[in-house]
Symmetry: C2
Subunit: 280 residues, 2 copies
């Protein structure tokens, strides 16, 4: 059974990873926005299942429409996302005020708004990052940092992990795994930078990590920490409602939300880092 | 006792209304931002009391700091409000994930974010409206529409109101009062337009309502409806936790939140209306 689970896990990854890489490196902005939007809708659905298990009951269809609208804003003009988010949050509040039982109005309205920010806004940043100069390289770095950090944490944590990191939120995580995760992120970042140079030397203009290596390594550490915090925070949500997996959509991987929990924090952090770079 | 309450109510209004008018018509942008920020902090505190009564427990100091930060953004560059709001929401989520009891993580994080939007963002729009061309005239219209609508609804509703509007949310409101509220808004709008013309004729360049009267009347109806919905929605929040007044800060008027509940929806609606006007 364990071997079968592992097999399913590997097959799913083997199908999804090349698709994601192709999308990042060669996909148009509209395709990236669409793909991120579809993932967001699936993740939002799972989030609403979680919140329901905790006693909230959101206006599901409206929340999904609101998330789709956020991606519409991301596609048209990123400056619209903030105003649209607040307007949609107030509309959802009014809907809940008139439709939810009174003792659940705040809870339903607040959870709906939270879903818009935690799933909608965060995943909107993916196409926005992709559309920037050097966007595909940034997205590849983001995913590699998250994935390789995850893998390193899993194998090192399982074999030599002893000191618990945050037993209340996620009992299997250890400090050894966490440090291995940071190290794994650094290793893959060096590999990516070397790969970009190698390709450039052969005249292939696919990846670019300009500037100091140290800047990129610093960014990798920041993204890795954000990813691990995102993972822990989603664990807290799940444990709070007594659920183990957020869903069953991805064979062997649990739900969509479980798979992207690290990205939900790391992606906006990368986007904010890019914003800060533009301002200073 | 009733006469004493009524007296307190009138004295409080007689002190506050001239101050607010002076602030709107003559206050600098920074003073307007500061005043709206102070009101927002007081209202947020009352909101957190309400949410606590309903079982959430937010990181109060952090929420207040976050709201102050939103007003800082409004003062420096309004485009920062959206990104700052999302970033602050994610930070509050992380704090709740690590500090709240697990079964309250979602509730506390979502309520904190809701407070940022429902109190922080909405009141940020006041100085932003004030800073626009013709801003003081717009703010005066907004407040007059809300106040006069309120007064008309109160007196007409009390004397001839019979058909209940939304007994579940606010048992004392009637359709007669609601219609009187819209009518009161229209009357004050006409008075304001005439006043602006009269002042202009005397060479006093204080108010301006350019363009068609019908546009302003339409805006007044939209703002009035938003104000009444805002009032009902806050009633829903209060009734959901079994509280009558949101606080006791304003003698004879209940809490700050009770006094500004209509503005919390009408102000952003006016701001969005101005944004739409710019785009089309």
């Amino acid at each position: 059974m364990y071997a079968f689970q592992e097999m399913k896990r590997i097959v799913t990854a083997a199908v999804l990873i090349p698709l994601v890489l192709l999308l990042i490196l060669k996909g148009h902005f509209w395709l990236l926005t669409l793909a991120a939007g579809v993932v967001a809708l699936a993740a939002a659905w799972e989030f609403m299942d979680l919140a329901d298990a905790g006693g909230a009951k959101m206006p599901r269809v409206l929340v999904l429409i609101a998330i789709a609208a956020l991606f519409g804003c991301a596609f048209r003009n990123a400056d619209l996302i903030g105003p649209a988010l607040c307007a949609l949050g107030l509309v959802l509040f009014l809907v809940c005020a008139f439709r939810s039982p009174l003792d659940r109005v705040l809870r339903d309205a607040a959870s709906s708004l939270f879903c818009l920010v935690y799933i909608g806004f965060t995943l909107c940043t993916l196409p926005l990052i992709g559309a920037q100069e050097g966007g595909p390289s940034l997205l590849l770095l983001l995913l590699c940092v998250v994935w390789c950090g995850d893998i390193a944490a899993l194998y090192v944590g399982k074999s030599i992990g002893r000191r618990k990191l945050a037993p209340r939120l996620s009992p299997n995580k250890t400090w050894e795994g966490t440090i291995a995760s940071v190290a794994g992120s650094l290793v893959i970042t060096v590999i990516l930078i070397q790969l970009a140079k190698y390709l450039e030397g052969r005249g292939i203009d696919l990846l670019a990590y300009p500037g100091s290596v140290w800047n990129w390594l610093f960014l990798a550490v920041v993204l890795n920490i954000a990813a691990q915090l995102g993972d822990l925070a989603e664990s807290a949500l799940k444990r709070g409602v007594g659920v183990k997996d957020s869903g069953t959509l991805l064979p062997g991987h649990g739900g969509v939300l479980d798979r992207i929990d690290a990205l939900l924090l790391a992606a906006p952090v990368l986007w904010y880092a890019q914003l800060l770079k533009q301002w200073f």
